[in-house]
Amino acid sequence: MIYEPSVLAVVVFFAFVGVTLGLSFWLGGKAKTSEGYFSAHGQIPWFINGVAFAGDYLSAASFLGICGMIAFYGYDGFLYSIGYLAGWIVALFIVAEPMKRLGKFTFADALNSKFNSPGIQITAGLSTLVVSVFYLIPQMVGAGVLVTPLLGFPHWAGVVLVGVTVILIVVTAGMVSTTWVQFLKGSLLVIFSAILTFMLMLRGFETAEGGADGHKLRTLGPFTTKTLADDLGKDESTKQWTLIPADSAWEKTPFVRLKNTEGAVTVWKKEEAQAGKFLLTEAQSLTKTIEGTVIVNGLIKGNKKGEPELHPVGHISKLPGGKEKTGPLGLLSFFSTLQESEIILWPKKVIKEEDGATTTVYYQKPTPGSQVLRPGEHPRFKGIRSNDPIDKLNFLSLMLALFCGTASLPHILIRYYTVKDEAAARKSTIVGIVTIGFFYILSLYMGLGAMTSGALDVTNSNMAAPLLARSIAEWLFAAISAIAFTTVLGTVSGLILASAGAVTHDLMGHLLHIKMNDAEQVRVAKISSVIVGVIAIILGILFKDMNVSYLVGWAFSVAASANLPSLIMLLFWKKTTSQGIISALIVGMVSSLGWILLSEDTFTKVYGLNAEAAWVPFSQPGIVTIPLGFLVLITVSLMTQPKPDKPEP
């Protein structure tokens, strides 16, 4: 699709950046000591901290990724919402208060509270860095993906813009400014998502024959395979079309290509009709030639409004009772209406042409609403409907990692040090759960609303929520787009601060044995923030073309495998030793990373190899590596128990 930069979105975004930077410089005086810089002196009010939890946690993956996945596949995206929120139960009931009681600045502080072991501090610091960097990459790439359509800048400009803004926020006032940015972002995200959902309900559903640009998707036929070439051109509806004979790349696909009188080639999908005949339904195609030319629906892709582009899609073809429009809907009738409707989904198929070009065909798939609203339709969740136990294990493993990962994410854990006591830590987690839970409920409405909005971009599922807003009102689009940007700002600032804390507090002091006074610690933390920020910018630009959404999944799996066993056992098993914790951290980190690097997901999406070449049976490591972390900790701890004092003679 061609996006015209929204002036209003640019204004709203820069206004937000201006306010947050102004706030950061104003608050800068409160971050002159290491306690101020890393933990805001523990003086953040619990309610502010709770909403900041939401601002920290609801990353681009949550807001854009989940809405996009629901918009293209239905209910399955909501499984992420469920899993992500469930993780907060572990945080509230198991981790929140002990983290506040045991730690000071970093996650490593809490783990090391009973042992004073340099080894724990170093390995936990390294784990923090690894998890934070994996989490940073998709956020930065997300910034670039957003900036191009929304503000009209190139990808690198978006990454640099976000990177520089976040570095300024973190360097000026550390945790104080980071907290306020996250509070603002969390509040705006939930408020505007609620407004968007409310307006979606007011609009209701209506049937359509195409997307929001008014293009009606055509159907030709019925034909038979033998007579298709001859039948084309016989009547008014088909006279402009000529069949292009299928070559080796196309002959085994369900598609045919037709050329019109102007020479433009369009792709159509065969749909079975009665008596051995078939219909041709209009598909969309995007071809990248080896010279780099991009062709959409047979014409060279344009750059301005009115020039050739892919049509926006996503509509309801049938409503219950043959209605054409529902009028305003309620919270439940929204789902019950959709359950009885027929929705046009847009799967894709990639075809390697004989001349080296690659054509992606996006085709219509009329789907009953009942199927859209059931789990197990997305390839990542095929385990739900598969009889293969390996697929089922993969699903179980993902849900386990989501459940265990949240309470192990370093940038979330450090937020427990910003409140004054354990009661405040508990209360702020409760506020976080309410805010995040409310948002995740809205995510299902927004995703399904986008699916039926006629505004979807088939090439970019991440744009589903902003485009849904555009289909309702331009001002809402500006607000949601600007908030999408701030989503990245809030999460990235938390990650950079967690990384800077690990470098300054855990690694430099214990690995390099550098003694620093308070002012030096703050200075080093600020320099570390700049370095981590610059690395994040570089990685965000380097990973531009890579599908990085699953890196968030990596971060969750590594965090859950490396950090959670140590944290839980430290709290609940008196025989835990420092050697046990160090071993569990290392084994959890290495095994989960190793598993991921040898998995089908990485082989196909990163290395470009066949799925069959993968070394491990399923992609999600959690179900193996989380128990492994516990097992290693217990075994090593039992082997390294302190010898009992000899009884006096």
Binding site: W88, I89, V90, I94, S336, R426, I441
Partner: protein, 86 residues
């Protein structure tokens, strides 16, 4: 609420949620078609259960918050009583 009850409560609440979450996963894995049933208001079980898990998390969090506040009040009252007895 006594000290041991206060300590046990989060684990009990965690256990309750774990059962609910585990039940959701087990149904998805082994009785998938149940999720397509529409038990109430024309909305399927997958949505009811998903929303239920989110609302349950919020309710359990509130229960813990209220119990925790009671416990804090109780514990903050204890030293005052001691001072009076001096």
């Amino acid at each position: 609420m006594s000290g041991s009850q206060t300590k046990r409560l989060p684990l009990v609440l965690f256990g309750i949620y774990l059962l609910l979450y585990g039940g959701f996963i087990v149904i998805n894995l082994f009785a998938t078609n149940l999720m397509e049933l529409t038990p109430f208001a024309g909305v399927n079980l997958a949505i009811w259960y998903g929303f239920g898990l989110i609302i349950a998390a919020i309710l359990l969090a509130f229960i813990y918050g209220i119990a925790g506040a009671d416990a804090n009040e109780t514990s903050s009252e204890v030293p005052e009583k001691k001072e009076v007895s001096k």
